[in-house]
């Protein structure tokens, strides 16, 4: 069980240094006042409790989506449908919240979160089932299904659940008794932060201390060996997808109860893809998901603050994120190729 090996620490370190250097270089090249931009980039997230709280809240969401991706990776499967699963989890949370009536706060919150989780699990589970039954490539099926789900969710927000008195393309606000307890002033940080961290440890225990987790990891490492050993490996094509989708769905419902308090068209955009980046920063290790998510959220918050305070444009801040994402992915694939060749 080399879950926290020296080489994976080194991989994470390299990725982090690269991820921090790239924005610095790009800011230096693009900004008229590079020092100011770079200073805001690095110190911005800590300049106020509002910025800090929002960064930590984003970290919590990225922990869940990163975890979702990581579990699928561990089983040797891919879940590229994160975007759709988060969005579907979120809209389910909104719809249930709007219809929950007089259910008491805590029970209501549990119902909404469970519904969001199940929605994500169900959508990813379909791809797992297709893989199990007909060996349908889950890389394609999760991605395509997610594309359709995003359009469906857009439709739900823009049509049957649209709040016609709003200038935004949004649903009505959910009842206040379902809002998650806030932890840091007016920022979005709420108790989902601790629940996300707890999820990481549960995932770690599941993967590394349980028989099913062991079988899943083994399936990810060598499917033929597992089959030869008499383990029903096909089961492990569905379970990881269910858990993976569940994490994405949970992230969606957390973002509704903790942050947005309504459904707005496209509001969870980016969470699914960024989860992949977090997993890759973390070297696919559940425990490293926490610092991985923190780093990614820090980079996001840094670019946002730099954009507000310096002359960094909206497009350029997105370019920086894209370069970081590209770099992390490229690095990972290079390692993967090395492993294959080796």
């Amino acid at each position: 069980m080399n879950s926290v090996s020296g080489s994976s620490i080194k991989t994470v370190a390299v990725t982090l240094v690269a991820a921090v250097s790239i924005p610095v270089i790009l800011l230096a090249l693009s900004s008229e006042d590079p020092l100011q931009s770079i200073t805001f980039f690095f110190t911005g997230p800590f300049q106020s409790t509002y910025n800090l709280g929002n960064m930590l809240d984003n970290t919590a969401m990225l922990i869940l989506t990163g975890l979702g991706m990581s579990i699928a990776f561990r089983a040797g499967t891919f879940n590229l449908g994160g975007e759709g699963q988060v969005y579907a989890g979120a809209i389910t949370a909104v719809i249930i919240s709007l219809n929950i009536g007089n259910t008491a706060g805590f029970t209501g919150i549990v119902i909404v979160l469970t519904a969001g989780l199940l929605t994500g699990a169900l959508i990813a589970g379909i791809s797992g089932f297709l893989k199990k039954q007909w060996n349908t490539d889950e890389l394609i099926s999760t991605f395509l299904l997610s594309g359709a789900i995003i359009h469906l969710t857009d439709f739900l927000i823009a049509n049957p659940f649209r709040d016609r008195s709003s200038f935004l393309i949004s649903t009505e606000k959910i009842p206040e008794k379902l809002f998650l307890y806030k932890l840091m002033g007016s920022s979005h940080l709420n108790i989902s932060f601790f629940l996300s961290i707890a999820a990481v440890f549960l995932a770690y225990i599941f993967l590394f201390k349980s028989t099913t987790g062991y079988e899943i990891r083994l399936t990810g490492l060598n499917r033929k060996f597992v089959e030869y050993g008499g383990i029903p490996y096909k089961r492990h094509l569905v379970i990881p997808m269910l858990i993976s989708g569940g994490m994405y769905g949970l992230a969606g419902s957390f973002s509704v109860l903790g942050n947005f308090h309504m459904g707005i068209k496209g509001f969870t955009a980016g969470l699914g893809w960024n989860g992949i980046a977090v997993t890759l920063i973390a070297g696919n290790n559940p425990i490293f998901i926490i610092p991985g998510a923190l780093i990614f959220a820090y980079l996001e918050a840094g670019t946002e603050v730099a954009m507000i305070h310096s002359d960094l444009s909206f497009e350029f801040s997105n370019l920086i994120k894209a370069v970081i994402f590209f770099l992390i992915t490229a690095k990972r694939f290079k390692l993967r190729r090395k492993v294959t060749l080796g």
């Binding site: 080489s7 080194k10 991989t11 370190a13 390299v14 240094v17 690269a18 921090v20 250097s21 610095v24 270089i25 230096a28 006042d33 590079p34 020092l35 100011q36 770079i38 300049q47 106020s48 509002y50 910025n51 929002n54 857009d154 823009a158 649209r162 709040d163 016609r164 008195s165 709003s166 200038f167 935004l168 393309i169 949004s170 007016s186 979005h188 947005f260 707005i264 068209k265 496209g266 509001f267 969870t268 955009a269 946002e304 603050v305 954009m307 507000i308 305070h309 002359d311 444009s313 909206f314 497009e315």
Partner: protein, 351 residues
């Protein structure tokens, strides 16, 4: 491999920071100057490709350039509406700007939310409406009158003998989305304007569902044209291009909103209502700098005040539109400008 990359990247980062820290003195000098007035221009979208945002930016920059030590920062909020509140809060939380300027009917409610946490932050919001918040001044255009002018012109075109006009008394309106201004001011104004030209005209109203899907807008426009309409008013942001393409393909007319853009499709864009967004941004920011902005109040800018109009001076309009249509439209404009005709903007509070 890792061993070589880590120090390499670290070195690059350190060298970059060191290189630019040599510019510190210059920066300090800049910061040492006092700033008299600073404005943050929050764009709910991106500036590039949006003429109304470009007009606002030009007007605001001009106002700021006229004072010594004025500072202006254009901040693009992007298309994800869910992020606007957070971004606006971060701007207010920085306490760096005397005034936040924005434009969009959704911004008053979002700004009021931010104002609860940062009551000292002042807002000037164009194209939005909110009364009674002492930190917010709104300035919206009388879109009922603007819609009326568009509808009247479209009505004149569909009843005219113009080459692209048929016998059917049908006109269209394509909107990016349904929102209170559209449903309660623009569309009713457009219908009333069309009825003023001919009471038998029917209006085909369609919604794209977003502000960027030009292909969907093209197919909606094609279907409206197919059903007998000869002119469509398009209020769909980036998706307007799709309506223009459909008009070009079928030899029909397009009517533009807010910004005169005849040159984009000569012969296809038959008319355009206009708003004086640049003038509004310029004059109102000058007011704010002078300490004369009436925070807490909401102004409505109409045709009579010169803020809303129809661009009937453009050479392409003069060349392509028959004289009787031009005369009738001018007559209608005169009635609004002299005050003999005015339409009341409905008072409603959107969220």
């Amino acid at each position: 491999m890792n061993k070589r990359i880590v120090p390499g990247l670290l070195l690059t980062a350190i060298l970059t920071v060191l290189f630019f820290s040599s510019c510190t003195k210059q920066t300090e000098k800049k910061e040492a100057q006092s700033k008299d007035y600073s404005v943050a221009l929050f764009i709910p979208g991106v500036v590039a490709g949006s003429p109304t945002y470009e007009m606002m930016v030009r007007g605001a920059k001009k106002a700021i350039s006229e004072i010594p030590n004025g500072k202006i920062k254009v901040i693009e909020g992007g298309y994800n509406q869910g992020e606007w509140l957070e971004k606006l809060t971060v701007i207010a939380a920085s306490r760096e700007y005397d005034l936040i300027v924005s434009t969009n009917p959704a911004m008053p409610a979002i700004s009021a939310e931010v104002s609860k946490q940062f009551p000292q932050q002042k807002f000037f919001l164009l194209d939005g409406f909110l009364e009674g918040n002492n930190s917010i001044y709104t300035f919206r255009y009388n879109q009922k009158e603007q819609g009326f002018l568009g509808g009247y012109f479209a009505g004149l075109v569909t009843t005219s003998t113009m080459e692209g006009a048929n016998k059917d008394l049908k006109i269209g309106l394509i909107a990016g989305q349904e929102y209170p201004d559209m449903m309660q001011a623009i569309l009713p104004g457009f219908k009333a304007g069309a009825a003023a030209a001919n009471t038998n005209i029917s209006v085909d109203f369609r919604v794209v569902g977003n502000w960027y899907d030009a292909e969907k807008a093209r197919s909606l426009a094609a279907s409206i044209y197919d059903s007998g309409a000869d002119i469509i008013l398009t209020i769909a942001g980036g998706a307007n291009q799709g309506v223009i393409t459909a008009g070009r393909n079928l030899g029909k007319y397009v009517l533009m909103y807010d910004v005169s853009s005849y040159d984009d499709a000569p012969g296809i864009i038959a008319g355009s209502t206009i708003i004086r967004q640049e003038k509004a941004a310029y004059e109102k920011i000058k007011e704010a700098i002078a300490g004369k902005m009436k925070f807490g109040s909401a102004d409505i800018a109409d045709v009579k005040g010169g803020w809303v109009s129809f661009d009937n001076k453009h050479p392409l309009y003069q060349k392509n539109i028959p004289q009787d249509v031009k005369d009738k439209l001018q007559e209608m404009l005169n009635r609004f400008e002299s005050g003999t005709l005015s339409l009341k903007m409905p008072v409603y509070l959107g969220k």
